[in-house]
Amino acid sequence: MVMAANKPRTASFSRNFTAASSSVPSIPGLKHGPNGTMLLSSGIPDLDKILGGGFALGSLVMVMEDPEAPHHMLLLRNFMSQGLVHHQPLIYASPAKDPRGFLGTLPNPMVSKDVKSRVHETEQEKGLRIAWQYKKYFGEHSSESQRDGKSEYCNDFDLRKPLERHYFSGHQIECVSLKESADLGAFHERYSNFLSEANRNIGNMTGGRIAIQSLCSPQCEYSNREWERLSFIRTLKSVVRSSNEVAVVTFPPSLISTTFSIRLQHLADTLVSVRAIPDEDNELAKLLTGYQDMVGLLSMHKVARINTQVPSILEATTFSLKLQKRRSLTLECLNQAPVDGSSGSSYAFSGSCSKTAPLEF
């Protein structure tokens, strides 16, 4: 079994974990993570890298939306597509009346020739770049190791092509509408059916995925019942932990009270926020390189730490969302343009997130 990821430790108690995980055969779509966890891919290669491999099984991921931009949908779509490509059971809930329609917008994995041309392009671009963007040169071609056909851990998705039909057939996909249910009871019911079926089909290490979109949106009947919503998330978190699945829940913090937003943030194992980038912002354009290509910003607030109390400190917490050639999603560290003189290095960004923070490089 592949135990290279786990270094030998001196404490004898930790040996139990490595023994347990070595008995699990390698399943496509899952890989070993630190501290005896298993990871699954978010569907975005850059995000997986930032997270240290992917989302940990048993973790609750919360995405704070920006009501001015639908970037959280990009994250959800890639997450769901990746699950379907890996035949992982999926349950999706949204405030729409007919959530199944959303499945039509899921992206398809990129065909290999497209990926090759993308790498070629970045190589060409390298020659034109100036030296202070040295970070771009490192780790750019680690994607080469992944390009060997179907059994990739994380696919590059082509956002312009819809997911092929064969990925949908024969797999466990549930869609739930949150519009009518007063107390999220409908979701609970469907979810417990989903769970029991998933466990029956594949066994414990399913890598099941749960995607809930816009939890606190005002279209839903339950939107005034903040405590029930909180109780729902708490229960979801503990069920997800015990059944080794990953739940991605998006919510708009600007539409709920600050204290509830913070309660939800505390519940999250992994916490991410997405923000829109204002168009034609001259000051930002001067501050950041590649401003024209950016569609938004993604901030990492927390990374799941399961089985450990050590926090995960990232080198950078703010990334720019870019669409390469309008089809594949990349996340880049923000590169600050050389500033000519005094105008400050921290720009107070007036995003609509409840916590406004200066851009962190």
Binding site: R241, I262, H266, V310
Partner: protein, 259 residues
């Protein structure tokens, strides 16, 4: 098993030596989204279990299942499963399915009253055994207890006051974790203020003013209301120092003096 854990800045600021056994104290741990105070709870839990072998811990968990604490504390050299089997740790997992089923139809008041009944009974049972037994009640965390109370912070406050009365009546210690940023942004931060008033010791976990760093994870501010005069111990009311968390332990150091 070591009887006295190594002496560090946090233990020193808590105002007593290795044993938690001076009884009758309430410790409030406050944290925020940026820096989690869970490691302080783990440290205090380990301390409570490693002191006199007759000491006992009642743990009310609203946040994580038992397995989580078991795994984390194992890396710190404390085996919770064994302690639970030896009846030194009584773990109330508020998130198990059968407890959620039991609580389904009830009001917040019923749930918390029932819970307090269980806690009080456990404390009485432990104390009735021969030999002075020190009981520590740990609550993780208060803001999630409000979910069980269906949002009534008054019920939570009543529950905590009753637990506090246990400290006076039975000489127990009470340790509670609370998310300070949840309440400081609310219209009426009653719960936060009342808890800070009740507590003998407040440990506040915050990020550094300069942001995140890999070698310093944040800062602790310990405010101790009850200073023991003339016993040669620290006379400062407020201690402030920084910390770095590792799996097996946490390093505490004054700013700039990290060894």
């Amino acid at each position: 098993m070591a009887n006295a854990p190594p002496f560090n800045l946090l233990d020193e600021s808590l105002g007593d030596t290795a044993s938690g056994g001076d009884g009758g104290r309430m410790i409030l741990v406050e944290d925020c989204v940026e820096t989690s105070g869970a490691f302080v709870v783990h440290h205090l839990l380990k301390r409570a279990l490693h002191s006199h072998s007759s000491d006992v811990v009642v743990f009310l968990s609203f946040a994580h299942p038992f397995s989580h604490y078991d795994r984390v504390l194992r890396k710190m050299g404390c085996n919770l499963s064994v302690q639970r089997d030896n009846k030194r740790l009584l773990f109330f997992d508020m998130l198990t399915l059968d407890r959620l089923d039991k609580n389904r139809g009830k009001t917040g008041e019923d749930i918390l009253i029932a819970l307090y009944g269980e806690v009080q009974k456990a404390v009485e049972v432990f104390r009735s055994h021969e030999g002075r037994q020190h009981v520590t009640v740990v609550i993780d965390d208060v803001s999630l207890m409000e979910v069980d109370a269906k949002g009534s912070s008054n019920l939570v406050l009543d529950f905590l006051r009753y637990c506090y009365s246990l400290t006076a009546q039975f000489g127990c210690s009470l340790i509670a974790l609370n998310h300070e940023d949840v309440y400081s942004t609310a219209d009426q931060p009653n719960l936060l203020l009342q808890l800070e008033y009740l507590a003998d010791l407040v440990i506040k976990v915050e990020p550094l003013a300069t942001g995140l760093a890999t070698d310093v994870h944040g800062q602790l501010t310990v405010s101790n209301k009850n200073i023991q005069v003339g016993s040669g111990k620290s006379r400062n009311r407020i201690h402030n120092f920084q910390f770095r968390i590792k799996d097996s332990s946490v390093e505490y150091f004054y700013p700039g003096s990290k060894t």
